[in-house]
């Protein structure tokens, strides 16, 4: 049973056992506009919760993407290099950024669930 969580920086996390997949939310890609480039970390890199993990560039902005949890990068979505528009088209699915082997799965509990995130986003507009 996978757990889906969100951060205040608009990253989503889906966890299955000790591996989680991370991307940016539909709201985030809307705010950015057309994504033109994604800079992903190398496989094997150690991430710390809350620290910069990737960069997503649109025509008008470049935003940091922060690691929602700590752990090791086990896979990155190479397809984004050739087709960054995937992030706009399918932010929650094909537009995923990295997969992390979590060092502390309990960190997930500090994040918002889907309903809480929905309320959070409504509060922003």
């Amino acid at each position: 049973m996978s757990k889906e969580r969100y951060t205040e920086e608009h990253e989503w996390v889906r966890a299955e056992n000790d591996i989680c997949t991370v991307g940016i939310s539909v709201y985030a890609q809307e705010q950015l506009g057309d994504v033109v480039y994604v800079e992903l970390p190398e496989v094997g890199r150690q991430l710390q919760k809350g620290k910069e993990m990737a960069v997503v560039e649109s025509v008008k902005a470049a935003s940091e993407v922060y690691a929602p949890v700590s752990g090791e990068v086990v896979e990155v979505n190479g397809a984004l290099t050739g087709d960054p528009a995937t992030v706009n088209r399918d932010a929650m699915g094909e537009g995923w950024f990295v997969k992390i082997r979590m060092s502390n799965p309990a960190e997930l509990d500090q994040l918002m669930d889907a309903d809480a995130y929905k309320t959070y986003v409504e509060g922003l507009s």
Partner: protein
């Protein structure tokens, strides 16, 4: 022969708008636009590294080259054509006298490393400009070498850091208002500082309370633009200066908006420790499609010893360039060198010619007229557009996109519609502290007639937007050499140079 589907003409040209291919697409091998003598026959001494194979540069004759760049020039908007209201850019008229004097023999043909006895007049000129800058700003010293505004910012922040290190302190933070130009935080980071942003208050000025809270003995300084990028004078500037000095920090001023106060206020009287001046803004040197600029930095007594090398000094034997820190005339504390040679001499000549032309009285009149023009725009447009802050403003006026609410027309769309009306849009989406910003700086070289024409057009467009004619705005501009360009594809699949057709095919395979 078929007509072009877009222009309806056979040629694809539209009257005076003439299509012009790249120079690479006009190549004829062997053709040239320069006649050079046959090189004498010598045994080469190129170390066995003589070029093998062609470079790939196209061959054109002089008539073709002249026509090429003339046609390109006709696709550009420029100050010479009309009002260019870019906020904080000070797009004022570029006097032609400046161009003539910068090209004088005896100035344009001087090599930077000639013996100093052969360039006394040039050093005198730099010294004269330095004197004007110091007098206008009320500061005792000036570093002339930075090549542009951002380079001047680097100079100022490096001087601050050098001064602190000299005191044995290594402070880590620099305070920067959120309304600041992007170069400010970029500069602070380039000098190894972390940037701590200060929000604006509801009056568009630095939030003094938050500023004071953020003060500490780890703060190296503040980078303040005054008037700020909202076009407003920071009323609390004296208190800010006092506060930053009280914790042992320094006050860097971004001088981009000096045009509002030149001749009326001296930054030295505001407690400033260093300020860069954009000669290409306040002092009329031409923008040239993006450069070159020149960013001399005036310095307080506290920071003067750290000024970068080289600089001009005046002694009993005439003028000299101090190029080494152990020179008898040097302080021994220069933080280093920022640029090859001495600075943007070509821009110094132009700026000095401008200053001498205006004089003290003309410069004061210029800043007065600049502020008057901006306030005239505010007063005339405040009912149709939405001013971001209550007036008066200084030399530029800031609106937000409130007046476009629920119209479906964005700031960008509004700006694109201005283009068809024969105006360059104002600065958009900057500063970041208001939503959908529109920042207009008319400058003092606009006549009242010019402003009145501009005002009428903006009123018309605002009313059209409020009438929700969104399709009109979304399709703008229609009358320009090119319509809206696809910036997304340009960034996703960058094509940053021309390549010959065969290699394009190869790349596609």
């Amino acid at each position: 022969m078929n007509t072009d589907p877009i222009t309806g003409t056979f040629s694809g040209n539209r009257g005076l708008q003439i299509e012009e291919p790249l120079i690479f697409e006009q190549d004829r091998p062997g053709r040239t636009g320069v006649d050079l003598p046959e090189p004498p026959d010598v045994q080469d001494r190129l170390g066995g590294l003589k070029r093998q194979g062609p470079i790939g540069l196209p061959g054109l004759s002089e008539p073709q080259v002249v026509r090429h760049f003339t046609r390109l020039s006709q696709k550009n908007y420029a100050i010479d054509m009309g009002l260019y209201p870019l906020g904080s850019c000070t797009m004022k008229h570029n006097p032609r006298l400046n161009e003539k004097l910068a090209r004088l023999p005896g100035l344009a043909d001087l090599h930077p490393l000639q013996p100093m006895s052969t360039v006394q007049g040039a050093l005198e000129l730099i010294d004269a400009l330095a004197h004007w800058l110091k007098t206008l700003t009320g500061m005792p010293a000036v570093a002339m070498s930075p090549a542009a505004g951002a380079h001047g910012e680097l100079c100022g922040v490096m001087a601050i850091r050098a001064a602190l290190e000299d005191r044995g302190e290594s402070r880590k933070r620099i305070l920067v208002p959120e309304s600041a130009h992007g170069t400010n935080p970029a500069t602070a980071a380039a000098c190894g500082y972390t940037v701590d942003p200060i929000p604006a208050n509801e009056r568009g000025r630095v939030d003094l309370a938050v500023f004071k809270e953020k003060l500490g003995d780890d703060v190296a300084g503040i980078m303040l633009t005054n008037p700020n990028t909202c076009g407003l004078f920071e009323n609390d500037v004296l208190e800010i200066a006092e506060a930053i000095h009280a914790v042992g920090g320094y006050f860097y001023a971004d001088g981009a908006n000096f045009n509002a106060i030149v001749g009326r206020v001296r930054p030295g009287d505001l407690g400033v420790d260093c300020m860069h001046i954009n000669l290409h803004k306040t002092f009329s040197t031409p923008h040239g499609g993006g450069g070159p600029g020149s960013g001399p930095v005036v310095l307080s007594e506290a920071l003067a010893p750290y000024a970068p090398l080289p600089y001009v000094v005046h002694g009993p034997d005439g003028f000299r360039l101090v190029e080494r820190d152990d020179d008898p005339a040097a302080t021994g504390k220069a933080f280093g060198r920022l640029k090859g040679f001495h600075g943007q001499m070509g821009m110094f000549i132009r700026a000095l010619a401008y200053m001498m032309s205006h004089g003290a009285d003309g410069l004061r009149q210029a800043s007065s007229d600049a502020v008057l023009n901006a306030n005239y725009l505010l007063a005339s447009l405040k009912d149709d557009l939405s001013p971001a802050f209550e007036g008066p403003c200084m030399h530029e006026v800031l609106f937000d996109d409130d007046f476009l609410k629920d119209t479906g027309v964005s700031t960008l769309d509004f700006a694109k519609a201005m283009i068809d009306e024969g105006f360059h849009p104002m600065t958009m989406y900057f500063p970041l502290v208001v939503h959908g910003a529109l920042l207009m700086e008319p400058t003092e070289t606009e006549s009242k007639e010019s402003l009145d024409g501009f005002i009428e057009v903006l009123k018309g467009l605002a009313r059209r937007a409020k009438a929700k004619d969104t399709a009109f705005f979304h399709g703008a501009p229609r009358l320009t050499p090119r319509r809206r360009l696809d910036e997304t594809t340009a960034a996703r699949k960058p094509v940053l140079r021309w390549r010959p057709p065969e290699s394009q095919e190869q790349a596609a395979e």
